[in-house]
């Protein structure tokens, strides 16, 4: 097989395999914690919905739900 520059690049990067922050084993935990946080926060927001609470509860809840959903989807085997 002919050596190609890409293969050289691959060999040169041997010490740096792709390593994401959240590994496959922790995806479920992270996803669950984030989703639960989202649930609690949106509940708290629902109890007392004022403009001030949008920043305190609403935003974190949305963010937590978004990321939590991504990780939960990954954790159940649909890798997006």
């Amino acid at each position: 097989m002919s050596a190609s520059p890409l293969l050289d690049l691959w060999e040169a990067s041997a010490s740096q395999p792709f390593q994401p922050t959240i590994g496959k084993n922790t995806q479920f935990t992270v996803g669950f914690v984030l989703l639960f946080t989202a649930l609690v926060f949106s509940g708290l927001f629902g109890l007392n919905n004022s403009l001030k609470n949008v920043a305190i509860y609403g935003l974190p809840a949305s963010l937590a739900f978004g990321f939590g959903a991504v990780y939960m989807i990954c954790a159940v085997g649909v890798y997006v």
Binding site: W10, Q16, P17, P20, I22, Y79, V80
Partner: protein, 401 residues
């Protein structure tokens, strides 16, 4: 090694398929085209290996430049229609394996011509009167046909392979012979050639166990053909994949490399004379005789593969086993029904793998990654599998550039 060869086979097939689309307009030569007679084959040994469900031919040839000027373009002829079925072509320098950089391309000829050519460009032009030893290996798809075409469910299957006793060549060949390697000694038919043709004055072919030798022959002009055929026992499936679609999707969120393959398989073996009989099949299951039916397939996957699945158009197929440990990952699957000759089966398999085995960050750059994934991981059968067309798609994460 096997895998590599497979990969290469697919690769070349793919590039050929592409060239069909892109290069058609470029290089069409008239049907009267004759390759310039710059070379002469001094000595040629051809080995035809018929042990698999596809023939593999290796031509070891000493070529000599008989032109005044250095030449680098060597032509390899194929009969009309065969070239499209060449599954892979490997060119090597027999004497010097490190001599790389051979380039092979199809020379398009208008469709009415009888012969088509591969043009092989040598890495360095061969000076006048110099010799070089080339090793040309190629596989031909769908080249074997069962004779008789219809057999009983438990009968032996015989395969006929027609070929030319003279190796295909666009040049004059001074000395040549063809060796056949057959899978068994049960060979009811092999065309005999008269003594007069043979250089040693012996009758062709010469038998030795499972190998048959035609030749040696003395000088043969370019394009000479001496049709012969052998018919031998081969009670194995002739598995033919008309299409393989392969998706490799990279998920950086999920830290996962998902592979999915969709296979369209046909068994080209002899069709059943009578219809399928379950009684006979169930009875034969106890002593498991050789059969031309494809019963199971084994997929050797990349070590570390997980979550393998095997489904077809109407859902999961429960008859599969997946064994995965530190040293190997094997997916063994049985189709819903045994594939007898002429039967088709379409299915898909898929599996996941950790991304760290496939993706690495390029040194010295911020967000550049390099992905190395197998082009092709097909089923590994003792008798071999051939694929007509392979489409591999790599799906990168959203936003990757």
């Amino acid at each position: 090694m096997r895998l590599d060869r497979w990969a290469l086979m697919g690769l070349i097939q793919l590039s050929w398929a592409d060239s069909n689309l892109t290069e058609r307009s470029r290089d069409i030569l008239p049907s009267t085209f004759k390759p310039p007679q710059h070379f002469r084959n001094v000595n040629l040994v051809r080995k035809i290996n018929l042990e698999k469900s596809y023939p593999r031919e290796t031509i070891n040839v000493v070529i000599e430049n008989i032109d005044a000027a250095p030449q680098s373009e060597y032509y390899l002829p194929f009969e009309q229609g065969t070239l499209g079925r060449v599954g892979g072509l490997v060119v090597k320098d027999k004497k010097d394996p490190d001599n790389i950089g051979f380039h092979a391309e199809i020379v398009e000829i208008d469709p009415y011509g009888a012969t088509e050519y591969y043009k092989i460009t040598l890495p360095t032009a061969l000076p006048s009167k110099q010799q070089q030893t080339l090793s040309l290996t190629y596989w031909t798809l769908a080249a074997l046909s069962p004779v008789p075409f219809q057999i009983g469910q438990q009968d032996k299957q015989y395969i006929r392979y027609p070929f030319s006793a003279y190796a295909p060549s666009a040049y004059t060949t001074l000395k040549q012979k063809t060796k056949l390697k057959l899978p068994s000694t049960d060979v009811p038919d092999a065309t005999s050639l008269p003594k007069e043709l043979n250089a040693d004055g012996k009758a062709d072919p010469e038998k030795q166990g499972t190998s048959y030798t035609y030749g040696p022959y003395n000088e043969v002009p370019a394009g000479a053909v001496q049709e012969v055929s052998v018919r031998y026992e081969f009670t194995h499936p002739l598995t033919h994949g008309s299409l393989l679609e392969r998706d490799i999707s990279v998920s950086h969120w999920g830290n996962n490399l998902a592979t999915e393959e969709r296979h369209w398989l046909t068994n080209r073996a002899a069709v059943l004379k009578n219809h399928f009989s379950r009684v006979t099949y169930a009875q034969s299951a106890y002593y498991n005789p050789p059969t031309s039916a494809l019963k199971e397939m084994r997929f050797p996957l990349t070590v570390g593969s997980v979550d393998a699945y095997f489904v077809d158009d109407i859902g999961n197929v429960s008859t599969s086993r997946f064994r995965s440990n530190l040293r190997e990952a094997n997916l063994e699957l049985r189709p819903r029904y045994p594939l007898f000759g002429g039967w088709n089966y379409k299915f898909q398999v898929g599996w996941n793998g950790d991304l760290k085995n496939f993706v690495r960050r390029v040194k010295g750059t911020g967000e550049t990654y390099v992905l190395k994934a197998p082009f092709f991981e097909g089923p590994k059968q003792i008798e071999g599998v051939e694929y007509e067309r392979i489409v591999t798609r790599v799906i990168l994460p959203e936003g990757a550039t």
